[in-house]
């Protein structure tokens, strides 16, 4: 457990809403999930980060991506499509976090090879549970490529 904590997972959160960023940071902290959280507030920045371009030449490669769909400049689904089309990036798990529970949005995300789709719970406690579940599943249960 300590090993894993020390491992210090790199998480890229793509989210433009600062309240959501705050709530995510709070939830992760209160859940005592060891991580290094990198935050970008639009899709273009997200892709630059992943390709270590521009301001992001010295950033680590994230182990997991939390992607909001409702993004300015470049929509979340476009970002998803580009990641999955990029042979270098496609194996990084992308967890879509969205306020939309519409079937069409869900279907579209999986169609673009999202690794999972999660409707953000309004209830903060439930949100924290979801993040815990993500941590335990993706960081302890599954084996990801190094």
């Amino acid at each position: 457990m300590i090993n894993q904590l020390e491992k210090s997972m790199e998480i890229l959160l793509v989210e433009d809403n600062s309240t959501d960023v705050f709530l995510t940071e709070e939830a992760l902290a209160s859940a005592k999930i060891a991580n290094r959280l990198h935050i970008v507030d639009n899709g273009v920045k997200a892709l630059s980060f992943l390709r270590k371009q521009g301001a992001y030449t010295n950033v680590p490669r994230p182990n997991i991506i939390l992607l909001d769909l409702n993004l300015p400049i470049k929509h979340g689904s476009e970002v998803l499509a580009e990641i999955k089309a990029d042979a270098d990036l496609r194996y990084i798990p992308v967890i879509v976090l969205s306020t939309s529970s519409q079937e069409l949005d869900v279907f579209k995300a999986y169609n673009l090879s999202a690794n999972c789709y999660i409707v953000k719970p309004v209830n903060f406690y439930k949100f924290r549970e979801v993040l815990k579940a993500i941590q335990s599943f993706w960081f302890t249960v599954v084996t990801l490529p190094s």
């Binding site: 809403n17 309240t19 306020t99 939309s100 529970s101 903060f124 406690y125």
Partner: protein
């Protein structure tokens, strides 16, 4: 020639010698009484020489002056009679002769005609009869012979009477017939032979007077015999004069004729008088009596006919004779007869049986009817021809006399009127034959019927009547002409009607009138034109639509209402219509009004064909579709609007789900962080405020979610798929497994059908209703019954519970969104569930409603239409 002349001279010489040696005087006179010959004895008797008398008048020469005129007349009479007929024999004339010396003597002259080849002269031997002896002797001799002859005659009573009627002689016949002997009767008056009645009327005397007056008297009458018995006699009475013209008495010849003989005589007389050939035959068929007419008709003589079989004359005679043997007469048999020369001719015979002593005889009157027959044949031929002509006429002909008797009703008349019996009084004609006025229901007043008017002498022209009777149940229209006709002068008039069936014409007329009325009254523009485009019909609607009046339009080219850019289109359509033999073409185009306005129209063009199928014109129905077009545009706009609004709504849903939820999450999240980190660390009131704020945020979140669901039901396409609703119910019950278990609800489920529905929505529908049933349960254990039945091509579903129910007055309100009957604390929820149910049912073209009583459970019903063929 020469020898003839010689012979003739020789003959005359001999005659002269004979004449001159003759014992009597001989004279010859011509038609003027002039003497042309005078023999030697005449010279001796009268004292005149031949040379002296030739050319002198005989009467002047040898008759005393006092007798001269009478004697000359006698001779002239005789001479004129002799001239008329050659057969006259001699005549003796006694007269007083005069000699040259003035002496007179009684002479007798025997006169005879002498034909000279040119005229008739008279020859006369004159003898002096004053020397009586010789003459008287000769007389008594001949008298004796005559008397003997008469006395021996037995068939006739020959009686000599004196001028007063006293019987002088009596013969054998008189004795046999009358019964008297000569001695008994001679000297009696002949009136003793007469009946007392005859005597009373002085008949015997009248009889004798008649005999004197007429020279002869004959009668058939009753006579009395000596024994007093009567008999029928034929009596002839002749007066007898002496040589001086004095009445000497009467010769009375009487013959006994019995009844049969008398009838026979009458019969014979009648036979001869009859205009027909009369043939009497016996039972063997042999002719025993005929009259002269029979000879004329058949060409046989009487002798040939008697004894001949009647069959020779009339081959079929016996055939017709047989049935009439029994004394009945039969008249008017028409047969053929044979003449002696073998030719045939038609006869009419009448048979009369005669009972006679010889047995039954048949008297046959035979009349040659060749002419009558010919006439009759001609007449019947003419009649036949007349009938054939009448029957071959297409027009009906009825002729009736003034009593209303039908004299003629031809075949066409019978079939046209259906009249099959004709003995109906005039007053009942209309009723019995079904004659109606033009209104087809009122019986024709009998006195106004064309036939009756014609019989009255009126002329009727093209009178229309309607006839309907048992033989013509559908009725027929007739056009009737009538006129009186005078068949025979003075025989009165008859009525003739000639009529034809105009039903088809009438129906066409009615149909045309109806069509014309329809055409005029319709709102559709109906026009027609001939093939070159000239307008020939233009109805009111056309005037309203195009602005041209009927007068303006008719005769014009129909291109006046076709915009220039549509002319080609029209021509193409018409060509297609004619060549492809289609019934109609309909297309949308544009027409131009008189004012130049363009109207969008729907145009239906039909070809007008003549009887042989040639297209002779076009009819056009033009409908103004301006309004349709407007509506069409509106509809399109609406659809567009709907699409847009649906898209907006979808956009709205998306906005709600993302943009409305995000800040709500922030509010709720922050409040919950405060609650977690600072609970119990300050004023207790803060904790309470934070709690309410979080509740509000979460409820707002739920409301937004339900609203989203509702809008989604309204906007999302539904997909109908054949769905087993039992499977859908399975899924729903498994979704609700936990609340069912917790509430210990009893679920009763009937079999559900397989229907074409949206399975997701139907699932949501059932889930909402069942979870409501659990949620609004009463204190008792919940019992939920789900079922369905088919009614009127609809499936009726129900979900029945035993929960708290609701007041019936709220039954409509509960289906409105966000309507709640209970506090949130007692029964949580947003109040959107039944609104969603309502939407789902409506999107399946069904209805949803609920029945309940407060506290006694509720039943929710909904219907789903059965699309045909989707359920089996």
């Amino acid at each position: 020639m020469n020898s003839h002349a010689t012979d003739s001279i020789e003959q005359e010489r001999r005659a002269r010698i004979i004449l001159d040696r003759a014992y009597d005087a001989f004279v010859e006179i011509d038609i003027n009484n002039a003497i042309v010959d005078w023999n030697t004895r005449a010279e001796l008797t009268f004292g005149w020489k031949r040379e002296e008398v030739l050319g002198k008048l005989l009467s002047d020469l040898i008759v005393p002056k006092r007798h001269r005129e009478a004697q000359r007349k006698d001779l002239e009479n005789f001479q004129s009679q002799a001239t008329k007929k050659n057969t006259i024999s001699n005549k003796q004339i006694e007269f007083i002769a005069l000699c040259r010396d003035g002496k007179e003597f009684a002479a007798e002259m025997t006169v005879f005609p002498v034909d000279t080849g040119r005229t008739i002269n008279l020859g006369a031997f004159i003898r002096n009869i004053s020397g009586h002896k010789i003459a008287e002797q000769a007389m008594s001799e001949s008298e004796e012979i005559f008397r003997l002859l008469v006395s021996e005659v037995s068939d006739y009573a020959i009686i000599m009477l004196d001028p007063h009627g006293v019987v002088k002689t009596w013969n054998e016949g008189a004795r046999q017939i009358e019964g008297y002997t000569t001695n008994e009767i001679v000297g009696q008056h002949f009136s003793c032979f007469y009946t007392s009645e005859d005597k009373a009327t002085d008949k015997p005397k009248q009889m004798l007077e008649s005999a004197i007056k007429y020279g002869r008297y004959e009668e058939d009458g009753q006579r009395i015999r000596k024994d007093g018995s009567q008999f029928l006699a034929n009596i002839v009475v002749n007066p007898i004069y002496d040589r001086h013209g004095k009445l000497m008495g009467f010769a009375n010849v009487t013959r006994d004729i019995d009844k049969g003989k008398m009838a026979n005589r009458h019969f014979h007389r009648l036979l001869e008088l009859a205009p027909d050939a009369m043939v009497v035959i016996n039972q063997l068929g042999n002719i025993i009596l005929v009259n002269s007419e029979t000879e004329n008709i058949f060409g046989y003589s009487k002798d040939e006919l008697l004894g001949l079989k009647v069959d020779k004359l009339i081959p079929d005679h016996s055939k017709f004779l047989m049935p009439h043997r029994k004394r009945s007469r039969s008249k008017g048999l028409e047969l053929y007869a044979l003449r002696k020369d073998g030719t045939e001719f038609p006869v009419e015979i009448s048979l009369t049986p005669l009972e006679t002593e010889q047995g039954l005889l048949i008297s046959t009157a035979i009349r040659d009817i060749t002419e009558r027959k010919q006439f009759k044949d001609d007449l019947s031929k003419q009649k036949e021809l007349f009938q054939v002509i009448l029957d071959s006429l297409a027009d009906g002909v009825i002729v009736a006399d003034t009593q209303g008797k039908f004299l003629v009703i031809n075949r066409a008349a019978k079939s046209m009127t259906g009249i099959d019996y004709i003995d109906v009084p005039i007053d009942e004609w209309s009723e019995k034959y079904g004659f109606h006025l033009a209104d087809t229901t009122t019986f024709y007043p009998p006195q106004d019927l064309p036939l009756v008017r014609a019989m009255r002498g009126e002329t009727v022209i093209e009178q229309e009547m309607f006839i309907r009777n048992a033989n013509l149940p559908l009725g027929a229209w007739l056009s009737v002409n009538g006129a009186p006709i005078e068949i025979e002068e003075g025989a009165g008039k008859v009525g003739v009607i000639v009529f034809r069936d105009i039903t088809r014409h009438k129906l066409t007329e009615q149909k045309n009138a109806q069509l014309a009325a329809i055409v005029e009254s319709t709102d559709d523009t109906i026009t027609s034109s001939n093939l070159d485009g000239t307008i020939i019909n233009w109805n009111n609607a056309a005037t309203r639509m195009f602005g041209y009046s009927e007068e303006e339009a008719i005769g014009q080219s129909d291109s006046i209402i076709v915009p220039a850019d549509r002319l080609e289109e029209e021509t193409a359509v018409i060509d297609e219509l004619i060549t492809e033999k289609e019934r109609t073409k309909r297309y949308e185009t544009v027409r131009e009004t008189k004012e130049g306005d363009l109207i969008p129209v729907s145009l239906t063009i039909s070809p007008i064909r003549n009887q042989v199928g040639q297209v002779i014109g076009l009819s056009k129905i033009t409908r103004d579709i301006t309004e349709n077009k407007k509506a069409e545009y509106t509809q399109l706009a609406l659809a567009e609007e709907l699409k847009r609004s649906n898209a907006e709504l979808a956009q709205f849903a998306s906005v709600v789900s993302h943009d409305l939820q995000e800040p709500l999450r922030g509010i709720a999240g922050c409040l919950q962080i405060i609650e977690e980190n600072y609970k119990g660390k300050g004023d207790g009131k803060v904790d309470k405020l934070v709690r309410h704020a979080i509740d509000g945020a979460l409820r707002l979140h739920a409301l937004i979610g339900d609203l989203l669901s509702l809008s989604r039901v309204a906007t999302k396409e539904i997909t109908l798929q054949t769905t087993d609703l039992s499977v859908v119910l399975d899924r729903v019950l498994s979704n609700l497994e936990i609340p069912i278990k917790e509430s210990q609800a009893i679920i009763i489920r009937d079999a559900l059908p397989v229907l074409a529905v949206d399975s997701t929505y139907l699932g949501q529908l059932f889930q909402n209703l069942i979870s409501n049933a659990i949620k609004f349960r009463a204190d008792r254990r919940p019992e939920i019954h789900i079922g369905a039945k088919c009614e009127n091509e609809q499936w009726l579903f129900f979900v029945k519970d035993n929960g708290i129910g609701f007041k019936q007055e709220f039954t409509d309100r509960i289906f409105l969104p966000f309507n709640r009957l209970h506090t949130r604390d007692k029964y949580p929820g947003t109040g959107i569930g039944l609104a969603i149910c309502k939407r789902i049912v409506e999107r399946h073209n069904g209805n949803i409603w609920a029945e309940s009583e407060d506290g006694r459970g509720a039943t929710f019903y909904f219907t789903i239409n059965v699309p045909k063929g989707n359920y089996d």
